[in-house]
């Protein structure tokens, strides 16, 4: 899975971003190596989701650069970035609610498949073959996250925890090399969170590099190889979970040393 074993998969280089007068990100720099799980933590409003949006090309960065596998991300459209191998989920689960569970995952295959308007109308053998391929792969992914029995349910009718799993399956369908998860455990109970941790391990075993924003510290500390701590748009610390936990600046931010906004 790793194309350039010597370099990082993702390099975030002095990225800054402001909205009006608010500095959402200032001079953020870190690398994500292939195969690792990178945790991104920080109080509310620290800029974690903004960072996700910048990395996926949803917002342009004001300054700085984002390099994915040696390719510059800024200036590319979102679907092109997905094409490079970056997928994401959303904090508030964004499913296609009028579509079935299976169809949701099938949309995830969009960027890896080709047939278009004419193909859809003519249904030539090649198109049908591709359609079957999409379906099979999507069913596999549903099994992978444990939703194989729900394939034909309306996705909006799923319980919330399953919606999260479905969103992950949909993201995986685009064959990402890097998967960004925005608070995947939010709204899950303890059992579900445990299952999620186990799922994340299995995703990593597939060779997918993970980056996650998460408030559940025990989950983050357990699954992450490295952690970046943001606070009010600035990078407070980075290192292994152990290093970060003992970092004084982090302790100050989290335990009320001045400006913990949480």
């Amino acid at each position: 899975m790793v194309d350039n074993p010597n370099g990082p998969l993702l390099a975030v280089q002095s990225v800054s971003k402001s909205f009006g007068g608010v500095q959402a990100l200032s001079d953020i720099t870190f690398d994500v190596d292939p195969g690792m799980v990178m945790g991104l933590i920080g109080p509310n409003g620290a800029g974690k989701t903004t960072l996700f949006n910048v990395v996926t090309g949803a917002y342009p960065a004001d300054t700085g650069d984002i390099i994915f596998e040696g390719i510059r991300v800024p200036g590319r459209k979102i679907h092109q970035v997905v094409g490079l191998g970056v997928a994401r989920t959303f904090q508030n689960v964004e499913l296609f609610e009028s579509m079935t569970v299976l169809e949701n995952v099938m949309v995830g295959r969009h960027i890896r498949t080709r047939s278009g308007f004419w193909g859809a109308m003519t249904r030539l053998p090649g198109v049908l073959r591709e359609e079957k391929e999409i379906r099979d792969r999507s069913l596999d992914l549903l099994s992978f996250v444990g939703l194989q029995d729900e394939a034909h349910r309306q996705s909006g009718d799923l319980p919330f925890g399953w919606q999260r799993l479905l969103e992950i399956a949909r993201a995986l369908a685009s064959d990402p090399k890097l998967l960004l998860l925005d608070e995947p455990a939010a709204g899950l109970n303890a059992v579900e969170t445990g299952q999620l941790g186990e799922l994340l391990e299995r995703i990593r075993d597939l060779g997918v590099t993970l980056m996650l924003v998460e408030h559940d510290m025990s989950l983050t500390m357990k699954v992450s190889d490295r952690i970046v701590v943001l606070d009010q748009g600035r990078m407070l610390a980075q290192g292994t979970p152990r290093e970060v936990q003992s970092d004084e600046a982090v302790m100050a931010a989290y335990l009320g040393g001045g400006h913990a906004s949480n």
């Binding site: 959303f90 964004e94 009028s98 579509m99 859809a120 685009s174």
Partner: protein
């Protein structure tokens, strides 16, 4: 309910055949031809509105482009209608592409307004460019259609022609909906944000479906022009665009059969309302408001809901399907 089996198509074919051979009255044929043409309009617009979730209040312009292109090419320049058809469809598609490029960047009401502005400009061009279109007094002398020895002059033959085309477009639409492209379209309707994040080039796709619906409208315009052989700008004004939107919404968005139902009702309703003579508009307006107030999801889905609700009283059908 999304995936009605092809049995729907078989019933459709049987219904068309039965009607075609049982009816003798020319007036009814004429009416049913209009229903068919309106169904085409509703089907195309439904792809844009019901599935991609983008409104257009200017589609009558594409309908008009189809009609006027074929009228001018055949009557003025002596083209065969079958040579004029691709020209009409291509011209409407090209205009849709050029107009759609900036317009589809807008969303919500702004998109509605942009398409409204375009539709009005189309109407004004049909009315004012009188050297080409005959202006507000209309365009006469459009030849009827013929294929070799078969002439589509009688109501019955034109009825079969139009409804064969309708069947073809229904099949195309259903194939489209249940395909990679169709799923991507529907995903835009549900959440454009997520759709983009999963790798759908939403702008390009919206543009393509806009062009598709314009092409279908132009096809409908072609069939209209060669049926009535006389066209005037009034057929393609703002109210015509609104009527198309209404057909889609009244029938029920995101449903091929809903579009058919909507076209049926909105074509036949004015005929039934003739009985009310001067109260016709009042009753029409009241029905429009009433249906939307009572069944905001359209008749097709609305009636299905009522039916299902009666069958399984306990169902929690709070409306997850189109609920946004």
């Amino acid at each position: 309910m999304r995936r009605l089996p092809p049995i729907g198509h078989i019933i459709f074919i049987l219904a068309v055949l039965l009607t075609g051979f049982l009816i003798e009255n020319t007036y009814y044929f004429q009416l049913l031809v209009f229903v068919g043409i309106h169904t085409l309009l509703a089907l195309g617009l439904n792809m844009l509105m019901g599935y991609a979730g983008q409104i257009s209040l200017g589609h009558a312009a594409f309908y008009g482009i189809g009609a006027y292109t074929t009228a001018i090419l055949t009557a003025t320049y002596g083209f065969s209608p079958w040579a004029a058809l691709p020209c009409a469809v291509l011209l409407a598609s090209a205009v849709a592409y050029v107009v759609g490029l900036p317009t589809l960047k807008l969303s919500g009401y702004y998109l509605g307004m942009g398409t409204l502005g375009f539709g009005m400009i189309g109407f004004i061009v049909f009315r004012e460019w009188s050297s080409l279109t005959g202006g507000s007094s209309g365009f006469v002398g459009i030849p009827p259609l013929e294929i070799g020895p078969v002439s589509f002059y009688s109501g019955r033959s034109y009825f079969f022609l139009v409804w064969t085309v309708v069947l073809g477009i229904i099949i195309l639409c259903r194939r489209l909906i249940d395909s990679r492209t169709g799923r991507a379209l529907r995903s835009i309707h549900d959440s454009e944000k997520a759709s983009r994040a999963i790798g759908v080039d939403t702008m390009a796709l919206k543009l393509r479906v806009f062009v598709f619906s314009a092409a279908v409208a132009a096809l409908a315009g072609f069939l209209y022009a060669h049926f009535v052989t006389f066209i005037s700008p009034g057929t393609f004004d703002f109210l015509a665009s609104v009527r198309m939107v209404t057909m889609v919404v009244i029938g029920g968005m995101a449903s091929v059969w809903g579009a058919l139902l909507g076209a049926f009702l909105l074509t036949l309703l004015p005929e039934w309302l003739h009985a009310f003579s001067e109260f016709e508009m009042v009753v029409y307006g009241l029905i429009l408001m009433g249906v939307m107030i009572v069944l905001p999801r359209g008749l097709f889905r609305g009636l299905l809901d009522v039916f299902e609700g009666a069958r399984e009283q306990t169902a929690k059908r709070s409306g997850g399907v189109n609920g946004r």
